[in-house]
Symmetry: C2
Subunit: 209 residues, 2 copies
């Protein structure tokens, strides 16, 4: 379970981001539209033709590198593909995570209809996904240390409204190879979900410290 990362230059990262981010955003729009469309089957078939044409175009050349890259200047992993933060993964809202000097993290982002569980509310499992990710980021110092979730407990205080939300996380304490992190999800009316997690550095990484 040891990972190699390809390095990407700041210039290539900026260029790829400018080119591929609008593509991912267009797919995010299509996910929402696809849930709610009520057009007839002939129109669906016409739309399908466009989606298949886009697929063929994009499949003409594919990356063979690992899915996670390391930025040449910052040294940080860039999770293009990650389903919580990946700028190139249409499943991700994405969370853009800010790192404060004290080590804590936060992110403000919008959860639209694709993340709905009960009508009008965010799916509880989506809250768990996003909190797991931001707790992992804070425990691993921005994914720069290899740490994996051992356990996570998520407590739902009330429903989270679809729309603008804020996630935040901080490290409570560390004991040997274990890091204890805590975090919250908030909607416009306050904290909706609390999470506590234990993150563990795997055996293969301990000697490298």
């Amino acid at each position: 379970m040891e990972f190699a990362f390809d390095v990407i230059s700041a210039e290539d990262y900026a260029r790829e981001r400018a080119s591929y981010e609008p593509l991912t955003d267009a797919l995010r729009t299509l996910i929402d539209v696809g849930i709610h469309t009520a057009v007839d089957d002939a129109t669906v078939q016409e739309a399908l033709g466009h989606l298949e044409a886009a697929t063929r175009l994009l499949q003409q050349q594919e990356r063979v590198s690992t899915s996670t890259l390391r930025h040449a200047d910052t040294g940080r992993p860039l999770a293009w593909a990650n389903p919580a933060v990946g700028l190139r993964n249409a499943i991700a809202p994405p969370m853009i995570i800010e790192h404060e000097p004290d080590g804590s993290c936060w992110s403000e982002f919008t959860l639209g209809p694709a993340y709905e569980g009960p009508p009008g509310w965010v799916h509880g499992g989506i809250c768990a996904l996003l909190l797991d990710h931001i707790l992992g980021e804070v425990a691993s110092e921005g994914l720069s240390l290899p740490k994996f979730t051992g356990t996570i407990s998520v407590k739902y205080l009330r429903g989270t409204h679809l729309g603008q939300v804020r996630a935040e996380a901080f490290v409570e304490r560390s004991e040997g190879f274990k890091t204890f992190a805590k975090g919250y999800l908030r909607d416009s009316e306050g904290v909706t979900v609390e999470a506590e997690g234990v993150f563990i550095m795997p055996a293969w990484a301990r000697d490298a410290g």
Copy 2:
């Protein structure tokens, strides 16, 4: 937080499913392709043109009903939009959940590259999302009772390989308005993640029992 469901006939459900499911599957393919494409910017622009054309076609008519429908024959909610099981939500793998006569639930499905966290492994938060959902299904008897996650604890025994996985859940016990459910995620080599959850019937629904 009380929900109204529109009823859909078996015939309309079958027709809509036949029409819209291939559309969602085409979007699932595009999500994966979008993560991995390495085509030049001119080709991205051409693909974007197709995505925008598809969006305009699908936006010509949209459902105004609630996002969750109730099947006229089975009486069960049909979560078209749900990010874990929604047949019309490209974010969902989707899990197709089977209900056994003893009340337990299971689902076998594939997690492709869009669900990747560490290279080659399923994102831990995706495991949490899917287990939260299947525990909720088993606790609410197939979403036919209004029950919401109170707390869920997820324990990661080891990494989950991308590919074919199985989720399963059962009710351990019930106490008043609380239901205690437990479940597992397995890959080809065995159990990878355990989850325990407490699901609560909200106050507004208690009188209706």
